[in-house]
């Protein structure tokens, strides 16, 4: 990499928001044809940095140099003109339009003043070929899976001849196979001379894809290291202290069965799913994305219907599609889509923490506001939520702190069986460990956790038992001793291949 042409350089960048110093002196440089990983806990300043590079924020201090000369990137359009494209976790695609229309959005090819559909499709196909994906340009974006949407987003960035491609946690939403394909594509782009800024929380991805790593902590660039740096060292740089244990599971003896699911079936989604969860247990639910894990969890919780089967809490059957009844029986669900399903983003911390217990905090028909606030304050303290005060909008919190609030509302409700769907997705190492410790303290006090996760090391590290789903069926159960990465993956894929043969 040495000697490669430097494209982008950032010197002493600083940014202050009212009450918060988001960036406090960041240095960073990017060369053509490299993958430069930005590493840091949530709140370390990665998002602020890339928002400044893509024109969403203006720096208060320091400067950005492109090809050696200082630039002011005032708008997203200006960033694009300078050849800087950003792919955020939330895609900028119009789901109702076709792939080709999205790729040509804002500047479709025209003929006699009308959109030239044929040329638009030809151009789209060419772009899609460059990214190396097989997608019909006429398909509606809404019909594509997340992985393909991401590819379309990348194709869109390339359509603008981007020299700098910023990718904000692109692998967070992908399955293992999809990650492989993404990496292949990123390597191709890199070999073609595109400079790539890559953000990830998966440390094992760094050595596989990256060239250099810049570690951010508390708004400062701490150090620049080669991507071959051992993971322990990266964690130490990122957190500022060594983390002795990534998965601090402390298992106890399981107690009485709390939740029992038998023969749960919904046509087209899952079939014959039976399992039991006992007090004090953490049960992991593994499987590929699309295996039906989330669907089962939501049906158990009453959020979605099922055709047949039964859900029992403490031996008593729960009515179908009745979240309220499930909640009152002691079930809780932390959904996979934190922002879309877990939080009222425009409301404050106290309001969100009290959402589940709202119906119980009545006093003579009136809501006991002081009591709610006090409870919210206590649980926020217990969870170590980093916020300015209880009145802060949850929208402005970091992902880890937002997740603590979603979990916190169920702690207030004292849910005895908590279903956690991808509880640590997009969360930094430090906050992950805090959530694991919270899981430990829950199970130690006789509660139980059903944890869905696509992060296999996490499932293996934290579960006392692992259930594996494939194609809507429960295909296996492994205890902690048997559960290895290979064993789980073997179960997760076999059924799929069998089904494909038919």
């Amino acid at each position: 990499m040495n000697g490669a042409e430097e494209i982008l350089r950032v010197e002493g960048l600083g940014k202050t928001f009212p009450g918060v110093v988001a960036l406090d002196g960041v240095d960073f440089d990017l060369r053509a044809g490299e993958v430069h990983v930005l590493l840091g806990e949530n709140g370390a300043g990665k998002s602020t940095l890339i928002k400044m590079l893509s024109g969403a924020y203006q720096p208060d201090a320091g400067r950005i140099l492109l090809d050696g000369s200082p630039v002011h990137i005032r708008t997203a359009a200006e960033a694009r003109r300078l050849g800087i494209a950003t792919i955020y976790q939330e895609f900028n695609l119009v789901p109702q339009l076709t792939v080709a229309e999205n790729l040509a959005l804002g500047r479709p090819p025209r003929r006699f003043g009308f959109v030239d559909t044929r040329r638009m499709h030809d151009q789209a196909r060419e772009l899609l070929d460059r990214v190396g994906i097989d997608v019909d340009p006429r398909a509606r974006v809404a019909e594509l899976g997340i992985a393909r949407m991401q590819m379309v987003e990348i194709a869109k960035a390339l359509a603008l001849d981007a020299r700098v491609l910023i990718m904000d946690e692109p692998t967070a939403v992908l399955t293992t196979g999809e990650v492989e394909r993404l990496f292949t594509m990123v390597r191709q782009l890199r070999d073609r001379g595109v400079a790539i800024v890559f953000i990830t929380h998966h440390l094992e991805e760094i050595a596989r894809l990256g060239d250099r790593v810049t570690v951010l902590r508390d708004g400062r660039s701490v150090r620049e290291v080669p991507a071959t740096t051992p993971q322990d060292e990266l964690v130490r740089l990122m957190v500022g202290r060594p983390i002795d244990q990534q998965y601090p599971r402390a298992a106890g003896d399981p107690g009485a069965p709390l939740l029992k699911v038998s023969g749960l079936t919904r046509a087209g989604a899952f079939a014959g799913v039976s399992f039991e969860i006992r007090a004090g247990e953490v049960v992991g639910l593994a499987g590929l994305v699309g295996a039906g894990r989330t669907e089962v969890a939501r049906a158990v919780f009453g959020a979605d219907p099922y055709d047949s089967g039964e859900v029992l809490m403490d031996g008593r059957p729960l009515p179908r599609t009745n979240v309220r009844a499930a909640m009152e029986a002691g079930l809780g669900l932390v959904p996979e889509d934190r922002k879309g399903q877990g939080l009222v983003l425009g409301a404050d911390v106290a309001e969100n923490l009290g959402l589940v217990t709202l119906s119980r905090s009545g006093r003579g028909g009136f809501v006991d506001r002081a009591g709610r606030r006090k409870e919210a304050g206590e649980v926020a303290g217990r969870l170590g939520v980093r916020m300015s005060n209880l009145g802060q909008e949850v929208r402005t919190l970091s992902g880890g702190n937002q997740q603590k609030i979603v979990i916190g509302k169920w702690l207030l409700a004292d849910a005895r069986v908590l279903i956690l769907d991808e509880p640590t997705r997009g969360i930094d190492v430090g906050a992950k460990v805090e959530i694991y410790q919270l899981i430990n303290s829950l199970t130690a006090s006789g509660h139980a956790v059903l944890m869905i996760s696509s992060d296999l090391p996490e499932i293996l590290g934290m579960s006392d038992r692992v259930l594996v789903m494939a194609r809507g069926r429960l295909v296996g159960e492994l205890d902690a001793a048997q559960a290895t990465q290979d064993a789980v993956m073997a179960l997760a894929v076999t059924e799929v291949e069998e089904t494909r043969v038919h």
């Binding site: 919780f301 879309g340 399903q341 409301a347 709202l358 119906s359 009136f366 809501v367 506001r369 402005t396």
Partner: protein, 320 residues
Amino acid sequence: MSTNVLTRRPAVRSLLAENGALGALIVLAVALSLLSPDFLTVTNLLNVGVQAAVTAILAFGATFVIITAGIDLSVGAVAALSAIVLAWTATEAGLPWPVATVVALVVGLACGLVNAALIAYGKLPPFIATLAMLGVARGLALVVSQGSPITMPDAVSHLGDTIGGYLPVPVLVMALMGIIAAVILNRTYPGRAMYAIGGNEEAARLSGIAVNRQKLVTYALSGVFAAVAGIVLASRLASAQPQAASGYELDAIAAVVIGGASLSGGKGRAFGTLVGALILAVLRNGLNLLSVSSFWQQVVIGVVIALAVLLDTLRRRGAN
């Protein structure tokens, strides 16, 4: 220089954000008292209060709905229907006026429940469901009254009077309904649930809030508030008119939005709505005092509504 501008802008923005509507009302009042000697008199201000009352009561009901990210276009028509039903029950059917009043309120409630049923269980967009109700309620008002005004019973007409010769009852009713709305929104389960539903319906549902049931409560409240507004309006005119309150639903929505609520839900306060209704009333009153033609008044009010929504957008941008 540039840092100066940078540090000053958020302060101005936050001022606009927190006190936008109230600040505008004060500016408007000061300007009008300078422009017209008749504005800042007790008689005129009470007059403004009376003018604002019907809009404000309708708007309190609309506030509930808008906080849940819904819309209720039927409130004007429901107000007219309720008043007609009251007058008809008391005069034509000869029932005692308290019974007639209860029947009128039940009609408002029923209209709201039908709206909610269509929205919550029929999954109709609120715009369509309440647009249909607008037609139905207005039509029924014409059917029941056979197209002519009906005299209000005397006992109820006192709602349009004054206490002690100066304090208008509509203003008192407005204040009372405002307090009820504020208490519901801030201090009751349905009120807090409205904010959660408007902020994120799926999150509310997954937190055990019975979203459909709460929508029933929301639209039912809007219907009852509309009935009260209709009764107050008819009392002031001493007769219930089938075409009364036409287009008031838009004034009500405007008052709510000027008062700082967001049409995308999750935000809004009863006090803000009161200020919004007062702004509209003060504006109309002031333009009358300044002898601005009623044609131009419509233009001015349109501009004010646009400015209010612009302010809302600015505020959200300021908050990032």
